[in-house]
């Protein structure tokens, strides 16, 4: 239970009230002063001092001086009148409670208003700062744009001036050319007149001579022009070899790894087809590769060793009978050996396989049966 302080003293003037509350050992930190228009409270444990004021005061401008074992309040009255007593008379507990609560509410409201005002003020400041920043940046940008615009205008003016210059030069050249032409014509006229005079006796000649004279002049001019440009080059042809590339697309470094991978897989697929024929166990590893056999066959074909080439192709076909190139090459060998029937058979086989590959014909059941039965 806090101790009520009752041995306070007070004085007043027309506009102010001075209250002196003695509190032993009081300091700023301990004393909690709560003041509203009608109510003043000091809570300094263990002491409590409260007073319900006679008349409202202006609590915003009132002051409290804390120290020296006492608090001195300087309260400015709202109305300049002398108070009869410091505290309101005839207050019972209920009124006291009510007044206390009202005061607290008042204080809270005021605090809220204060914070809101502060927040609003801060927002205003920020907006202002932002506006100023934007203006500065806008100015900078405009400066750069202006510079660019100036350059453009300068360039356009230069271009126009240069065009004018060009046009005038053209004009001048044209005038010069016309003058020269004029002079040339005059010259030709004079020559003709001279010729006419010379050949007055010879009637047949003058016209021919005149025209010849003029045409010879022209030929003379043309020849001059042509002499400075050499004759067209003598026709030649250069044969070109390209760096080999399997794919029809352009070469890209980033795709090289993928392409190599694809090619390797293709080669493996072709090799892995028929490798389980018993009598081939004594062949070397590479001789079981249809690709290698095909290359061998090609080389033998190139050296005109057709029978050996056919053997190579036979073995390759036994290993993998779905590669049309092998049949084609074997057909070529048969052709060279004049085995025309065999050539026809092999070519047809190759043709059918290629068509199958291109999905132009479908391996229907009937087709497969005929293939097995008749070996077409």
């Amino acid at each position: 239970m806090p101790l009520q302080v009752s041995d306070y003293s007070w004085q007043q003037t027309k506009v102010a009230v001075f209250i002196s509350v003695p509190l032993r050992g009081v300091c700023v930190r301990d004393a909690d002063v709560f003041c509203t228009e009608n109510y003043l409270k000091v809570n300094c444990p263990p002491f409590l001092f409260e007073v319900f004021l006679y008349a409202p005061i202006d609590d915003e401008s009132s002051k409290a001086k804390i120290g020296n074992d006492a608090i001195v309040f300087t309260l400015y009255k709202k109305e300049a009148a002398m108070w009869e007593t410091l505290s309101m008379s005839g207050v019972d507990k209920e009124t006291m409670q009510r007044i206390r609560e009202k005061s607290i509410l008042q204080a809270q409201e005021r605090a809220k208003e204060a914070t809101e005002a502060k927040a609003a003020a801060r927002r205003e400041d920020q907006k202002y700062a932002l506006n100023v920043m934007m203006k500065i940046e806008e100015e900078e940008r405009k400066k750069i744009e202006d510079m660019k615009e100036n350059e453009r205008i300068k360039a356009t003016k230069e271009l126009e001036a240069w065009k004018e210059h060009q046009r005038k030069a053209e004009e001048q050249k044209r005038i010069q050319r016309e003058e020269k032409l004029h002079q040339q014509e005059k010259q030709i006229e004079e020559e003709r007149k001279k010729l006419k005079h010379k050949s007055l006796t010879r009637n047949s000649a003058p016209r021919n001579l005149a025209t010849k004279g003029r045409s010879s002049e022209n030929i003379f001019f043309d020849k001059l022009k042509e002499d400075s440009i050499p004759a067209p080059r003598s026709v030649g042809s250069i044969k070109v070899n390209f760096t080999p590339r399997v794919f029809p697309t352009a070469l890209r470094e980033s795709q090289v790894a993928e392409e190599e991978e694809w090619l390797r897989k293709q080669a493996e697929a072709r090799r892995a087809m028929n490798t389980d024929i018993p009598e081939l166990s004594d062949l070397k590893e590479e001789e079981k590769n249809p690709e290698w056999l095909k290359d061998k066959g090609n080389k033998l074909f190139a050296t005109e060793n057709y029978l050996a080439a056919i053997n190579a192709y036979n073995l390759a076909i036994r290993l993998n009978n779905k590669i049309p190139v092998l049949y084609l090459n074997r057909a070529a060998c048969h052709l060279k050996l004049k085995n025309l029937h065999k050539a026809i058979e092999d070519s047809s086989k190759a043709y059918r396989i290629m068509k199958l590959h291109l999905r132009l014909i479908h391996p229907t059941k009937l087709y497969k049966m005929m293939l097995r039965r008749f070996g077409i």
Binding site: Q166, G236, R252
Partner: protein
């Protein structure tokens, strides 16, 4: 170099077109340029524009039967200014833009689309006969003389029976006197082949491991100095062409940029150390080549071999989201260039401060 001293690439004029544009070229000695491409209806188109007061004015539109892939003014005289074009059907035509109904020269040069064309000997640059070279998807590279009908004066074709690779780009070079001339061709399997037209032989070949999109010598009319080859996968190589080693060929330096196909390279006509590359992501990079201290040195056997220099990036800019398929510097005004891209736009660009480099 601080940001303000670097050359800036500024888009001066941008124009959207209603057709796919494949190539654009300046008409020499004028403020006009031509764009070539194809309409959606499958016909080819050539349009002639002039730059007037900061905007483009369409002067002429010429429609032809087959879509047009590439063109050049390189082989005509300055008075005539005829445009040589290659189209999708393999025809080479030379047009007089004032009277475009009938071509001045026409030949069915190739069986498939002509991918690239180049001209030399005209415009008062270089010496020797004016010639046009075309490279096609059928793997052949043919050199034409407009005075000879129907037959090419040189034909670089694959050996009989050999698998053909598409030729993607061609370039003339080394045309410093009347006899010498060299054609360089790039293929889709990464091959670069240098053909000597005086000896009619293959002078050098190499493979840069990626399809070659564009080749250009730094100058056509001098003894071969540098060759830039751009390729897929964002790489380009600069070869020093002054010293050829018998086995190692030419020295080169390579650079990776753009993160996508480098579609074109073009050297600045006024300064042969600067070149612009156009990328598949719509970006343009401006590069400068610096020569090494010694351009050639002796290898272990005492044979001369070249030393490549270094390349530094001066500026880059992204103009569009689609690849920039063609570029051309104006030969008359330093820093002015046009580029066309697959978003159906043609842009006129100004590159500033090039005279200070």
């Amino acid at each position: 170099m601080s940001a303000f001293e670097k050359p800036q690439i500024i888009a001066h004029i941008q124009k959207g077109l209603n057709y796919t544009v494949f190539d654009c070229k300046w008409v020499p000695c004028s403020a006009k340029f031509v764009t070539m491409g194809n309409f959606a209806r499958g016909t080819g188109v050539i349009q002639l524009y002039e730059i007037q007061h900061g905007d483009l004015k369409l002067l002429r539109e010429i429609e032809k039967a087959k879509p047009i892939k590439c063109g050049t003014f390189g082989a005509t005289s300055l008075q005539q200014r005829y445009l040589a074009t290659g189209d999708f059907a393999g025809n080479l035509h030379i047009w007089n833009l004032e009277a475009p109904e009938i071509p001045v020269y026409s030949v069915k040069g190739h069986k498939e689309i002509i991918n690239a064309i180049d001209g030399v000997g005209g415009l008062g640059i270089g010496e020797g006969a004016p010639e046009i070279v075309t490279g096609s998807r059928d793997g052949t590279v043919k050199v034409w003389d407009p005075r000879q009908k129907d037959d090419p004066v040189a034909n670089m074709e694959p050996v009989q029976g050999e698998n053909r690779r598409d030729c993607w780009t061609v370039a003339f070079g080394n045309a410093y006197n009347q006899e010498e001339r060299v054609v360089c061709a790039g293929y889709d399997n990464g091959d670069i082949k240098l053909f000597d037209l005086r000896n009619m032989s293959l002078r050098w070949e190499t493979n840069i491991k990626n399809g070659v999109c564009s080749l250009e010598f730094d100058r056509k009319d001098i003894s071969m100095n540098k060759l830039v080859a751009t390729s897929l996968e964002g790489k380009f190589h600069v070869f020093d062409m002054r010293t050829q080693h018998p086995t190692k060929g030419f020295a080169s330096v390579s650079e990776k940029a753009h993160k996508s196909t480098v579609w074109q390279v073009r050297h600045l006509p006024q300064n042969r150390e600067l070149f612009l590359t156009a990328g598949g992501a719509g970006g343009l990079h401006l590069w400068k080549y610096e020569y090494p201290i010694q351009r050639s040195k002796k290898d272990s056997e005492g044979v001369e071999m070249g030393v490549a220099g270094s390349v530094s990036l001066l500026q880059n800019v992204t103009l569009s989201t689609q690849p920039i398929s063609s570029l051309d510097w104006s030969p008359d005004k330093r820093g002015l260039c046009i580029c066309s891209s697959f978003d159906q736009m043609v842009r006129v660009l100004i590159v500033t401060k090039l005279h200070k480099i």
